[in-house]
Symmetry: C2
Subunit: 356 residues, 2 copies
């Protein structure tokens, strides 16, 4: 604390992201990055954009990138907003589109940045408990609110909410904005972007960080009615005229255009995930059904924190959350074939020794 | 306007940046970009960083870049904050370090994003008139305030405030934060970063957009007491964990390390600027003394808007501000030798025909 901090700053509880150690040989299954690099087309585009034009500001409207997202997702360019990662877009959305007069609703177990944004922008909040099976009970969101947000699939559970349930929610919630945070949608879900023409209060947010293997490039997008997009543009233009640098734009366009890479990469990841799920179940883990690139698991005989520490000693990082309801779970990002094999080799050793 | 916009959003007046047309042959002297590309070392670093590691999140603390800024500026890494362009850092600074209890003070003629940030974060504001000669009257800032901000050199005037005057202001203003926005400092001023050890309420903000020819890469930095930096980290971690992508970090480190390119490039720009100033004066322009990479000029016999439109017809863009006190001025970014020659060739034609 400093006497120069604003009253708001003093009240904040910042988000804590997963650790990013850079040790050689580390098997990093803790931050849901894709286990292999992006499309070669992306790398080519990035190298090509490393030229003297970097002296010039980027296009403040990111027109080319918005067109590329529109084509990839099947919406109009005017229904697309882009930002410096989906976190920046989430922040702008809370400030621009959430109403302070009533609480913002989100699941009790979900992306832990949502309550941080409420604090940052002076919004009330109300966490709605997941069902016992950890699915999102959308019927519980039919109450007075200043906005609703949830990820689909949810994180860190990996559970998918069917599109039909989202449609029902939208039919019953017309007066405030509903944000569906689709960071992981490409690994097994159907995007709600198909609904934006019918529901002017629906905002869908996606990212290139996961399914496009570009966490290091920081590019996200939102899809919604043109008036919602205009609102996001307005807050962006009151914050930072040029949030996307020229390289990020060039790489992101190339990523969206390489459809073949995208389809093959997602299929490979899903295949590894489903194999990993079965292997973990065979070792006595309960594994929630995942539509994401991670598995949320618990072992009935073994303490989750102890397990995560034992894995860490073997240079395997997974994510442990010391939070109510989920403190016996581990979130394991799906690695490549080799990383998953090493995990599956380490676990029996740990489970065996622990059981002695 | 949309019924889904937040009350704050409805009240915003966003910043309007200089236009970014992409016409071939255009002489673009309207947004203060450097007229030549960045160091070849930067381009090499960027191409080298376009690899599979882009699948991984960047270092959330940007440690390497903070060390590079610290070394370049002569401060400690813990006294450095980095962001996605200096605009993002300005935004965070207004939210984190400005106090809502009293008005934020800034010059009446200055970077027009400052009042936008006041609107974005619910801060009072008071514009303090420049002197008749357009210099900043720092003695007028000795009044109750929630924070003080001004650019040095000021924009769009280009005038430098001597470091000794800033020191006097700091001695008389100990209770709120003073931000010196040094976007253009490398073209003729001395940075106030040397004062941060003595004044815990001083924040100095710089950018790679101008003197490092990297407007397209979006990298800025702030220097200040570790408690101010900790405050900025806190608001950043409540907004976006990873504002700098991996390429921006790699390119920025390379830019800061290529001291020879930097010194030579600044010297070349200053040399062109000083020649342009003399030529414009010889044509009857009044030119404010500039410590930046632009000139702020007026012609006593010619209307500024008319001049800017005539230049535009000749594919030369300069910036015209339709604002009180400065609506007879043009802000002309210093181009390269060839661009300035073309400007100096076009102007007599315009001034001559206009005088008929």
């Amino acid at each position: 604390m400093s006497r120069y901090w604003s009253p708001l700053l003093k009240s904040l509880s910042p988000y804590v992201s997963g650790e990013q150690p850079r040790l050689p040989g580390l098997i990093k299954l803790n931050t849901n990055e894709l286990p292999w690099g992006p499309s070669e087309q992306v790398l080519k585009a990035l190298r090509g954009a490393a030229d003297d034009d970097l002296r010039l500001y980027p296009d403040p409207d990111s027109s080319a990138l918005r067109r590329a997202f529109a084509a990839a997702v099947g919406v109009l360019p005017g229904q697309v907003f882009v930002g410096n990662g989906s976190d920046e877009i989430l922040a702008h959305s809370f400030q621009a589109l959430m109403q302070p007069a009533a609480p913002i609703l989100f699941p009790d177990i979900t992306y832990s940045f949502y309550p941080v944004y409420c604090g940052l922008y002076g919004l009330q909040q109300q966490a709605i408990p997941l069902r016992e099976d950890f699915s999102i009970a959308l019927e519980d969101y039919r109450r007075r609110n200043g906005g609703i947000i949830f990820p689909n699939p949810n994180a860190p559970t990996g559970l998918l909410t069917p599109l039909q349930h989202i449609k029902t929610l939208l039919q019953n919630n017309r007066d405030t904005v509903v944000i569906v945070d689709e960071a992981y949608i490409d690994f097994g879900g159907e995007s709600a972007a198909s609904l934006i023409a019918d529901y002017p209060n629906l905002l869908v947010i996606q990212t290139l960080s996961k399914s496009r293997a570009l966490a290091g490039l920081r590019v996200g997008a939102a899809f919604g009615d043109e008036e919602l997009i205009a609102g996001l543009e307005r807050v962006k233009n009151s914050f930072n005229s040029y949030p996307l640098d020229r390289l990020a734009e060039a790489g992101a366009v190339a990523a969206l255009e390489d459809h073949d890479w995208f389809v093959a990469s997602c299929a490979r990841l899903v295949n590894i995930r489903d194999g990993l799920l079965q292997s973990l179940q065979a070792m006595g883990f309960e594994v929630l059904p995942s539509a994401a690139n991670f598995l949320f698991v618990r072992h009935l005989q073994h303490d989750a924190r102890t397990l995560s520490e034992a894995l860490r000693e073997r240079a395997i990082l997974v994510r442990y959350f010391d939070k109510p309801r989920i403190n016996q779970f581990l979130r394991i990002s799906v690695g490549d074939e080799d990383e998953c094999a090493q995990l599956l080799q380490a676990l029996p050793e740990i489970l065996g020794s622990d059981a002695l």
